[in-house]
Symmetry: C2
Subunit: 236 residues, 2 copies
DNA sequence: ACGACGAAAAGTGTTGACACATTAGCGATC
DNA sequence: GATCGCTAATGTGTCAACACTTTTCGTCGT
């Protein structure tokens, strides 16, 4: 009896047009993407608390799908949960960020080597055009990612691509929000990119890998210097 | 009234000792681990459906935490969800598995190089004792992982370690359940391990990385040969 | 005034129920 | 006899409510 009552009530609410269930897949995905966006855009700073009732209200869902999304975020190392205290946006130490650059060196190095062997002529032309746009616009910040992205795609290795795209590049965007010492593109970048492009065009996998690893290692070392200068400002 | 009834019932159930809410963290973690165990042990075969009501009953939880666990599993690429059709254990093609070995080559190669520079004398002694146990027991299957694991730990890079431990090694265990063509340890393994150990003991990072990459690449190439032999059995 | 205690508020972890989708089973039709 | 359509059963996606925990804030005592 009670159940029937509840059901009738629910149906009435539905008929009134308050909210009909949509069939466009799962809400938890939308919420996941939304929270990722808030994190990498800086709207949710590292260390910030993820208030479940508030977020649920923001995204117009109940706490069920929201908690699903938070679980996914924790699995992706974007938030950390503490028992009975909820989730907070993860805070990475400089050491962890620099370790991630070692990881990136290994992955993008391998990717460049594979790309040199596996890229099609069409992809090669695209890579060259990306490089030329990069030079022209004199902006390596946003376009640099495209250059690297194009090479990773060309490696024909979805496993490596997934880690870089869905883990590293996402975190990089976040780190740039908060860590000013992280090395951005400089004049050196373009020359390094040119040499990498050249190696790939010559189908020289070994050389492409070496140059890519040097390129990323230089970014890491420069970041370390920036960090040291930041922590010891007496040299200024 | 109804609510009070439900509450009293719940309390009664609790008092009877059937199941009181524990404070040891979240159920979704336990369920996650449980399902991972079922997947890597072969109890849940690739392609098998994850029936939510059934699994919920098995683990003694409701579907809330269960769905949280499934979301985490999907994020870890252990299951794949299709809208309104639930989750199935992921099926990796041979190509994907072989790509993962390229990923492993990059990561473990880097890890070996870093380990050569960073391992303490204590860790080095441990690595040597693992190697010697491996020789003695003439079993590289189970111990090989320990040898590799020890090197990864010695690299002092938690980012690389996390991907290998929580992604690759977990999947490797699963793949070995279903893909007979995957290369296991052979006589060659011990000699390769010996040379890697030697390079690390000599603090020769470059050499350690090269040897580790060759080692893993050989596993990949041997697996490819096994696979080809399996698909073209006319040569037998 | 300041700190300890305790009640109220807010938040987290979990549950059972509901709306919609898919699937399986059955009978009618050709 | 096989196929198509309908119906019931099973399953997925979501929600609101509940139990317990943590935090907040007001009160009291010193």
């Amino acid at each position: 009896m009670v159940v029937v009552e509840a059901r009738k009530l629910a149906e009435t609410v539905d008929r009134s047009g308050k909210r009909q269930l949509r069939r466009e897949g799962r809400e938890s995905h939308r919420v996941f993407d939304g929270i990722v966006e808030r994190i990498v855009s800086g709207s949710l700073r590292p260390g910030a608390k993820l208030n479940e009732p508030e977020l649920a209200r923001d995204f117009g869902v109940s706490r069920g799908p929201l908690r699903e999304a938070i679980g996914r975020l924790e699995e992706r190392q974007l938030v950390r949960c503490t028992p009975n205290a909820g989730a907070r946006v993860i805070e990475h130490s400089p050491e962890e960020i620099l370790q991630a650059f070692e990881l990136r060196e290994a992955l993008e190095g391998m990717a460049a080597g594979l790309a040199a062997e596996r890229m099609t002529e069409t992809e090669l032309a695209e890579l060259r055009s990306i490089y030329e746009e990069e030079i022209e616009s004199q902006k390596s910040n946003s376009w640099s990612r495209n250059f690297h992205l194009c090479i990773v795609r060309g490696s024909r290795n979805a496993q490596i691509g997934r880690i870089l795209n869905e883990d590293f590049y996402r975190l990089l965007k976040l780190w740039r929000q908060t860590s000013s010492w992280l090395c951005h593109g400089t004049d050196l970048t373009w020359n390094e990119h040119r040499r990498i492009l050249d190696a790939i065009e010559n189908r020289d996998g070994e050389c492409a890998e070496m140059l890519m690893r040097r390129h990323i290692n230089r970014l890491r070392l420069t970041s370390i210097r920036n960090l040291a200068a930041l922590e010891k400002p007496e040299t200024a």
